[in-house]
Subunit: 96 residues, 7 copies
């Protein structure tokens, strides 16, 4: 299979563990070289966060189980970058 080099994952998570602890755990997953957690929104129960993850060959199943072990759920995978090179999404005239 081809290498998965970037994943942008929309996650719903409880307030605990914190975004920091959460992102540390995601970054600790074997295939991950770096992870950035961004707080999108929060209400009394949950936080909606975006996790941008990069590596030479990311293992999504490991990532998802880590998210779930931390009490979170993967709401959607919003971007996936695969292959020998990391291709940047191109804006088009059809974008909203």
């Amino acid at each position: 299979m081809v290498a998965v080099r970037r994943l942008v994952i929309d996650v719903l998570k409880p307030h605990e563990p914190s975004l920091l602890a959460f992102t540390e755990q995601v970054a600790a997953v074997d295939s991950v070289e770096g992870a950035t957690g961004s707080l999108i929104e929060l209400d009394q129960e949950v936080q909606n966060v975006k996790i941008t993850v990069e590596g030479t060959d990311l293992d999504f199943d490991d990532l998802e189980s880590t998210v779930e072990e931390l009490g979170g759920t993967v709401h959607s995978v919003d971007e996936v970058g695969c292959g020998d090179i990391l291709v940047e999404e191109r804006p088009t005239h059809q974008d909203g």
Copy 2:
């Protein structure tokens, strides 16, 4: 014929396989060096995704049959880059 170096394809796909599996399969097509799948919109039945693909000489027929084998349909090809060099689209005063 000239080399096709970039394709930006608007795809409608069922929820399964996932955007990850879908993009992995596209990136595995022989002529592809890298592919990025971006989630544009989704409703209960389908996902509208944008696949940005780059390579030294992309084979669209292979790509389209891969998309279809995965249950998807190519809604439109929104950008094509061909030739010895990859030319970036220029904004003009006629753009909306």
Copy 3:
């Protein structure tokens, strides 16, 4: 005469041949080093596409006849770059 290094051409074309085939043909014109076709809009009959073409000395007549052989028409030439160097258009306070 001076070298024509970039042309941005607004084209109306039928749905067939596809934007891919269309852009491949344009990129195959002798003076062209690279061509990018971008889908602007489409309706039932026609596609409005923007072709950004670059080369060391582009031949517009060849390009236009290629477009016409493919069933398209050049709606307008929106940008032209000529000379020893390729000059980027400057934004001004008079732009809309």
Copy 4:
């Protein structure tokens, strides 16, 4: 554990100490290589400031206790960057 390389912290602080003194203290925390304090808003009692902190392995507990010693409170951690590399957050079509 993985290295924490960037933290963006939303802080509520009293007018004293000043944003300058506050940011100096944060930058003086052992694990910090650089800190930038930005004034977001202020009213008669408090200032809402954003602290962007970078280092090779940031210690959030040290940072939080420093903020609290200075009379401030961490309102939220808005971005966390961890791992061997610092990954930039990717914009997606799901961003508001």
Copy 5:
């Protein structure tokens, strides 16, 4: 006198000669290293185009007479860059 290195000229021109021919002629003026013609607007009689011209020491009189020989008129000179170095215009808080 100092060298004129960039001129951005707002031109009204008839439909013929084309923007391509027009820009080729402007780029052929002795002092010009490169010229880019951009279509701003057009109506039944005239085209409003912007010509961005760069060179080591541009001769505006030559440029203007070339424009006029081609049936166009210089509506306004919107930007001028002179001197040993080409200085980029700075945005300020007074800009509209």
Copy 6:
């Protein structure tokens, strides 16, 4: 203490001395390597200006007394950059 490397100061100043003289004086303060004064707004009595100052270890007290000797007042310190490196503020989804 850590080095203060950048300060962005919102200043209210009388019309005299001019923004030029004012910025020259600020730039002449020992710890300053460079200073840029930007006119934000002005009315009949005062000018609201933004002073962006950079150096290897800025001395705010010197800067503030210089501002005051010139008849101005520091309205607020809007950004502070401290440490071994100068960290750029990160945009977040919580920014207005």
Copy 7:
């Protein structure tokens, strides 16, 4: 005194001399390395232009007298960059 490296000057000038001649004269002032004149607005009597000037140590008095000899008036100095280095203005959350 410190070196003045950049000035952005808002000027009201009559239609003659032209923006080109005006900018050439400004660029010819001893301390100037480069000058860019940008047309902001014009009405029947006057042109509002922005002159961005850079040099190793600009002499504002020379510049202002040049502007006045050409029939113009300095309406305001909108940006001043001084010191050993040229510092770029920082955007802040207080900007309009």
